[in-house]
Symmetry: D3
Subunit: 224 residues, 6 copies
């Protein structure tokens, strides 16, 4: 029933985090074996944001944003707030005042499986948010939740300190311990894609580049 | 079953309406005690629109936009059309021709718990719409509805002449009789927020500004 | 169970296709008798795209984008890829590499009743997509589907070679054999609208322009 | 922000209420001009329940069922609890203990635009509930709401003391002041339907009974 | 825009229809290559109904059930009414009076991608309906639709005279011309399943019966 | 990307599991601090089922049920299959043949965040399933997933061997290591509820039993 705040969490190396952010959600998700995506309902409040950071997690009761204040104290430069309500809720837990406070602590953005408000201000402040709703509905401060405990956010299991990558394609989580290895694979993937992109742009077909024709025929594909 | 058009409705003072528009949805909704929001499915067709105006209400059958024509005659400078279908519907009741006509009558925008179309034209015309869908599906003109009767739109009870505030955060209704009082509270709220914003930007924590630590401890919050 | 690729499909005349694209979804849909719209969940990944082209259809298993590669070989200049999964799916079947390949073949865009990813890249490339989701979830290449067979996409029956029109209002299909006739009606409609637009902008009411007052009264509309 | 309990509410006559219950949702809704239905998401937890009663309304914060206890004290024999959360919520506000208490006060059932739990027990107790979800999620008792104030529940505006009719088809509200008149119309409707039912069962067509053929032809219906 | 009634449609042989009904939705759908299912939102109003029949199709405007009356005249013994609204709608197009009339004409049931009402009566009458909603919302009779034209219902393309199979698993359509061939495959499938069912019930594993172990190993499955 | 099968998993004691099953979802969920519920979309295919068992988990690709066969070999008496697709999917992964096989291995039921079919047969067999959809859509056997790995199913993190409790209220997971402690609390809760139930049935109010009047007054509740 909440009531816990974990103060010391481990984080991945800054260079690894930034590398994952550069690679972006689709590449990172592929690089780690097609896992870690949050549900597609998590959409950015404005286009062209792309961030990565360490998750400071919040488990919050429905319609109660008290724990956001508690979490902000736990933020370090480069962190991302990640909030999962304990039951489905789309209230606007977060607006421009909390964003001002979070930015002052070095926070890079918010991922919230609920609502957000003041989105015009947040856009102006360049504070990116991925949420399931934009909704002005206010919240109370009456019941405890927890900070920096394991949560499930939009269908993904997230531990505090895990690396969050978010861009126009959505949000992906990378387990902290695997972040460096995933980055390597992501970079390899990017390199490999580059040559393919050039060949495809020149008009070569994926059917040939990936050598699919034989397998398709063996599976029974017939041209008419 | 419809068939009524109320011609004379009372409106709030223009200065009050404009003040509420300036305050915006989130602030107004808080100022009146966290009530009056329309459901979060009501989204603007383009960003950065912010309006307030008096509701000219429309109760329309599913897939029948006849009453929109009737309502436009009832518009006065500064009004907002608010349409609720009598059963759930996402047809495109409204497009650029109706917007042209409504604008000619001084209409500031449309709030519709259904669909809208010609959104590129509407954007170009700077005629803002909050709707639950963008959908080109055409409508007929075969069955009566009513204009300027009480409606429930996207979960909110709206009387003709109530003040509608709409921006990127969604849509909020303020009862006409309470509009002046709500504006006062909204402005007080904005003033109070300003000083808090400065303190939060300087790195102070909400935990301290709002004096929450004692209450959190009393509730049993434990740091680990 | 798939496994068919139809190579030779008939297409409408380029001038007809381009004319329909110029008219846009709402007008074309009205011109052909209010039919042909895909469901409103089909939204563009960026605003202000407006295209028309011949449908190259794909019936694909859930989470399997193998047939997209097969379909790209069948593309001709001016075509649009139209993908319907064989059961509901929001995986990201399509990203920047496939778009690079499709563009190299002259493809004008993608309509997909599933997910799309790399939307920032696609936006930069000016490759428009209408989809029901933005989702980075990767797909496999393990099971056959079909290319250029009749499909139902987002509620609309689409045959290969049908004309697809897509813009900010959504997506509409025009049967190939009726495309020229629909274009004529669409153009007539546009012309008729122009004069109405001027009259409405000047303050005339639809009630008068469309001569509705008598019929409304006969139906029982009462003013209070 | 809640905090009000209205103790004395007016109710319709018991015989009127019971008559409306006997007529059922579809007939009552038609009799009053096709208004008053709650949204179709409101489904009964078991089949074959059919009740009518006076609304004791509850406006409750998300995930907080404190006000249900307050409302139960206000119940009189024949009442129905009607709960609307102040923002969308599907938590299980109500289970077998509250039902036991409500039944002891003469309550006939619950209409809740949120969740309910212990549905096996409620079924066994023959305490009917119409809800938007079955969900065991527990609630807290930390924030005030209101009892016997006007609410919007599942899209319908409901005042305390209004008559609620609920059966397998859903839920309908009848304004208290109009209940007697609606009952009369409902009974007239039932009588009229009876003779039509016999004629239809004997094979006569609605086309003939309702004399539709001429009007259809005039509208342009063509047989092929 | 509707207005057509096709009077003479071809139907499959009664014995084929009944055979498909006996096989049921899941088997028939598999037998014809995993195609033909209507969307999963189509649910029966009561359990244990299982029917098959020839589709008499209805394309109806939103909230307008006039064409149902027209369609009933076209019914023959063993037919099933299949209604698709021209835009998404959940109004209750159909209730006990129409069911009485349809039954008198030999109709076996209704498939409707919209709402139905009087479900308690329909259950008592043993008239099965598969719908996307139960909703009492009444409809008007003001606008033409069409009867016995091709429709898309809940995502499936249906021609008049196609065979509809419906049971607790949902609804499936079989093209009339393929009905006999599909029945043969369905019956072969049923026979094959029977022996597998006995082996599985005796504790044999699908891994062995279907000889999967080698392929799984080749694909890289590893046991830990 | 899958491909792992863990053969030896730890399970809770049978008596603990059965005790939790007897307590039911709502009580168990409360006893462990209001955590562990799966999303409310998980509904039973027939009423009055109540089971508990050890989770044998399946992570399966969309539309591919190959791993169900692999998982069945890992079942022990008293286990429950728990399947989460790697991306949202409602295909019918499971029907009567697989149920026959699972029952032969002692399986008590299935929890699947996707579709199920043959529900009439499953009901007859008394094999309970909690799913997000009933859908006949068939699946393929082409891509590997994993068995007995940690999964997130319908929003809940589930490890193999965790205790699953499921009844008419939905599904709850109890961590294996905490199962005994949760059972104790659940039983204490049940005992405490019994005396309250008697008092409430006798007409005492929760306001008095739980001593709420003072706190409500302090919070500002006012009676009118």
């Amino acid at each position: 029933m909440g009531g816990r705040v974990v103060r010391n969490i481990d984080r991945a190396a800054a260079s690894v985090i930034d590398g994952l952010g550069h690679a972006g959600v689709a590449t990172v998700h592929e690089a780690q074996g097609r896992i870690g995506l949050l549900a597609s309902r998590m959409r950015p409040i404005y286009p062209n944001a792309r961030i990565a950071g360490s998750a400071v997690t919040i488990s919050a009761p429905p319609g109660d944003n008290w724990m956001v204040h508690v979490a902000i104290e736990q933020l370090q430069q480069g962190d991302i707030l990640v909030l999962a309500p304990t039951s489905p809720c789309e209230d606007g837990y977060f607006g421009d005042l909390l964003a001002t406070s979070a930015m002052a602590r070095g926070c890079r953005g918010l991922v919230i499986d609920a609502g957000v408000r003041d989105v015009r201000d947040l856009t102006r402040m360049n504070f990116p948010v991925w949420s399931k709703a934009v909704f002005a509905q206010g919240t109370v401060k009456a019941t405890l939740g927890s900070v920096n405990v394991p949560i499930v956010c939009a269908g993904a299991a997230i531990d505090p300190g895990d690396v969050i990558v978010a861009d126009d394609d959505g949000v992906c989580v990378v387990k902290r311990a695997e972040a460096a290895a995933v980055l390597e694979k992501a970079q390899a993937r990017e390199a490999a894609e580059e040559s393919k992109r050039r060949r495809l742009a020149a008009g070569e077909l994926g059917l040939d580049i990936y050598d699919m024709r034989g397998k398709l025929e063996a599976m029974g594909l017939r041209y008419e």
